[in-house]
Each structure stands twice: as C-alpha cells, then as structure tokens.
Amino acid sequence: MNSIEVNNLTKVYDSRFKKNAVTALKDFNLNVESGSIFGLLGPNGAGKTTLIKILLGITFPTKGSASILGEDISNYNVRKKIGYLPENHKFPNYLTGPEVLTYFSKLSGYENPNLNIRIDEMLALVKMDQWKKMKIKKYSKGMMQRLGLAQAMINDPELIFLDEPTDGVDPIGRKEIRDILVDVKNQGKTIFLNSHLLSEVELITDRVAILNKGIMLREGDVKELTISKELFKITIKGEPDEDNIKSALQDFLISKLEKNIVYVKLDSSDEIDKVIDSLRKNNFSILSVENQKNTLEDMFISLINETEKKI
C-alpha cells in the first residue's frame, strides 16, 4: 500500500508577467510505500519543498492530483494522521516546550486523555525534558529542531514529513534523530524526508527520488542507485608484482592499484569475465571481485551535473 501517490503534478508560480512564471514541478509522479523512509533529494530550488507544501495543502497544484493515506489532498481532515516539521519553523515564542506540543496536538485533533504523559514522553525522546519550563524564545537552533521533531510526532501520525530535520543539530544530536526516525519506521509509520545531508539520507532511507528543476531525474532503492556498474575491486591472493598485474590487464583501464588490490574501470559490467580470464591466464589467484559502490552524494552530483549540461 502507498502512503503517498502523486500523479502528473504540475505547479507553476504565476507572475504578473508571464515570462517570469516559474515551473516548480512538471508532470511529477511519485509513489511512497507505507512503512518506509523516503528521501527526496535535489539542489536548492528543485521543487522539493513545493511538493511537500502541495501534499499538505499549503500550496495548490496547477495541474494533476495527489493523495495521502488514500485520501485526496484537498480533504484537510486527512492531516489528522500527519506530522510535519517545516524548514525554519516558527513556533509561538511566548510558549514553553510542553505548551507548544499541547497547542499543536489540539490543532491536530489529537485526542488523548493522557496528553501530558504523551508530551513528557515526546520531550524525553528528543532529549528536551530538562527544558520544560523555559520559554522557547530562549531555545537554540538545535533545541528548536528537537522540539520541532517532537511536534511532528505528538499526534502519533501515520505519515511524517520532515524538511531538513537535522538542520542546526550537532553530530551527536543528528545520530539521535536518525535513531528516532528508524525507530518510528519500525513502528510501521512512513517518513518522507527532505534533506541536503546526503550522507545522512543514505544511512536511513529505503528509497530516494532525485529532483531537479521540477523534474524527477531518478527514483529507486538507495542500494540500486549507488551501485557503480563499471567499477570493480579485485583482490589478488598473495603479494603479486604490480608490473605483472599491469601487464596482465594491459587491455583494461586500471583505476587504482594498491599492493594486491586492483580497481578496474570497465565500459560494461559484462567485461568482468574477460578481466578475470586475463588474470587467471597470468596465474593470479583471485580472492574476491566486488562491484564498487558510489556514495549517494557521488551519484547525486554526477546526475545533477549531467542534467545541467543537457538543459
């Protein structure tokens, strides 16, 4: 089952002068499976926040349709089951942390006779329980972010949208937030994540979509997307002579050679058999052959660069 379904969504921000109109999303399609962590990636101005805003009824689509948790996005009642942490959020600064959570739980239509206990639990989860009596105007950026996360989860939502959730949070705090998100996912909830920190996204997301200038460039499993079909790491038994290896692989492009490990770059993964044959013919014993992984960041940068060149 999908928690989010987006069909041919287009958003054009009109201007008084037509030539200044901006297309933030163009015929965008997306499905997000329930119970997963989905990462939406893209450079600034790619249309990521616009997509979230449309899904949450903050902005209206120009064309197309979308549904969340099986309901059309125009039905605002579905938002009872949704949590949202916007980027650079602003809470009423005259409130304390627990008061902020009370306010937003009320607005979310969350009914829990033990709301105070739930609030205490949420504050403890994001490690903000020691600041309960402090007005939030005195909070640091990291503290606001932690409170924001608690706010997004206070109504026990089925689907949580997080826009840059670790922005301004220290490395330990980021790790804690990642752990919380994985824990929430394990409870069967769906998380839709917008983040610039690709190394973090890579660590926790199940699937990602890459967006640029309102167009979906790629979508898929993080493992699938980061695998590099062309680069292979071959480990040779013993302490082979480097010149002999170079000689055995003279028909191939050696990317790197470190003692008994050789990285070979191929035009196609089908050529790996020929590499192995060549090494074996020269009496090298092969311990392992691994298809090398790119980082999500490598893949992201190369994909964005490629599309920028095309446009």
């Binding site: 903050i58 605002y76 949202y84 602003k90 607005l107 239509g109």
Partner: protein
C-alpha cells in the same frame, strides 16, 4: 468549532504576551485608581447638600455630575481604547503568515476559514475583556460613590467592542493581502480618524465643493466605509441612556464586517504559502 476555539484561545495568549495589551490593562487600572482617589478625596454628597436642602435638587445635581462624567470617560475611552486595540491587533495576521509559521498551521486538519475566524474571535475577545474591565470598573466606582446604578454605561462595552470588530475585519483583510501590519494599521487609522469623520460631514463638503462627481464619490465612500464616527456618537448616546436614533450606521458597519471577513476567507482560501 473546536479548532476556532483553540485558535482564539492562542490568539488571546499571543495578545497577552504582547506588552501593548498589558499597557492597555495598566492604563485602564491607572484610570480606575485615579477615579478612586478622586472619589475618596472629594465628597460629592456633602457638596450637593450644601447647595440645596431640597432632596430632589441634590439628586439632579448628582445625576448631572454622573452624566458629565460618563461623557468625559466614554468619549476618550472610545478613541483611546480603539487606538490601542488597532495598534496591538494589526500584527496578528502578518505574524501568522510568516514563513515557518503559516506552513505549520496549514498542515494541520484545520480549514482556512477556521483559521481566520479563530484569529478574529481571539483578537475580539482580548479587546472585549480590556474594555469590559475598564467600563465595569468605572460603573462600579460611580455606583458606589453616587449610588447611581445606571447600566446604560455598560452598553459602551458592546459598542466599543463592535466598532473594534468592524475595524479588525479590515485589519485582517489588509493583513492577508499585503502581510504588512503597518499598512493594515495605517489604513484603519485613516478610516477611523480621518475618512469616517470627514464623510459624516459629506453634505457640508458637497455644498462647499458643488461638484456632482465629488458628491457621488463621497456618498459612495460613506456607504462603503465603516461609520466609526457615527458609532462613536451612538456610543455616547447609549451611555447616557438616550438610546439609538438611527440603526443605519450599525447595520452598514456590520455588513462591512461580514463582507470583509468573507472576502478575507475567500482570498486566504486561494493563496499559496
């Protein structure tokens, strides 16, 4: 209904958190304290009995003083109270529309109409409370001092709050259109202090200018714009127990409020944030 109540409650809290409403409250308290001092130090009953041995004449004297006091209190209260209320309420909508704040609000299961109505009733409630505090306080002081328990002064609470509600609807509309508290405040002050009093004199102006176009323009503006100057006069009249001569200013101002709120909701419903 629950959402409107929650939003009203938190608009009320927002208002309480602002120093201007505390100032309003402090000014009201100061006025009440001044009257307490005045009433304690000057014995009106004694003065009345010195002037006349006739009980009725003394009573007339007291009621005259009470009437003068009512006018002296109610007229400045109308202007001062509304001046402070407009000033403090003008930022409710622009603050709500700030990035990061409106996103959160709209992502909740709350309709946009409920958000506007919540803000409207919350702002209205705080002004009502402040005005009621001052007027009821004065009524009690006058009652205790002169033993005159005329409730007509209490109707000022309704009139001042109603006038604020009419102007507040305009603040909301301008806030939604421009996100500017200064513009909302300025426009409301212009209507309150300049346009409405000037339009009240439109017949005299028309005679002076003697131009049909100007006459139509003034008439048109008169019927469109809230009639705060007339509402002020009505307020003084009802505080004196004279009743209401003409309901047209009340009805047309009420219609202005309803239409302005409806327009605010319609525009807010279509806006991207």
């Amino acid at each position: 209904m629950k959402n409107i109540l929650t939003l009203s409650q938190y608009t009320f809290r927002e208002a309480m958190a602002r120093k201007i409403f505390l100032t309003f409250f402090a000014v009201s308290s100061f006025v009440l304290i001044l009257f307490v001092i005045l009433f304690v130090s000057v014995s009106i009953e004694e003065m009345a009995s010195m002037i006349s041995v006739n009980g009725n004449e003394a009573f007339d004297f007291i009621s005259k003083i009470v009437e003068v006091m009512k006018i002296a209190i109610i007229a400045p209260l109308f202007v001062g109270g509304l001046f402070l209320s407009i000033f403090s309420a003008s930022s409710f909508i622009p603050n709500m529309l700030e990035k990061g704040s409106i996103d959160l609000l709209l992502s909740k299961p709350v309709s946009r109409a409920q958000i506007i109505l919540g803000k409207f009733f919350g702002g209205f409630a705080i002004v009502l409370l402040n005005i009621a505090y001052l007027v009821v306080g004065l009524w009690l002081l006058i009652g205790v001092k002169f033993n005159v328990w005329d409730t007509s002064i209490l109707l000022s609470i309704v009139m001042i709050s109603f006038t604020f509600a009419v102007l507040y609807s305009l603040i909301i509309l301008v806030g939604i259109l421009t996100r500017s508290s200064i513009l909302a405040m300025m426009l409301t002050y212009i209507i309150f202090f300049i346009l409405s009093p000037v339009l009240l004199l439109r017949d005299k102006i028309s005679i002076l200018i003697d131009n049909v176009v100007v006459e139509y323009l003034l008439d048109g503006l008169y019927y469109i714009i809230p009639k705060t100057a007339e509402l002020s006069n009505i307020n003084i009249n009802i505080a004196q127990g004279l009743g209401i001569d003409e309901y047209q200013p009340i009805i047309s101002s009420f219609l202005f409020m309803i239409l302005t709120l409806a327009l605010s909701i319609t525009i807010f419903n279509k806006k991207d944030y």
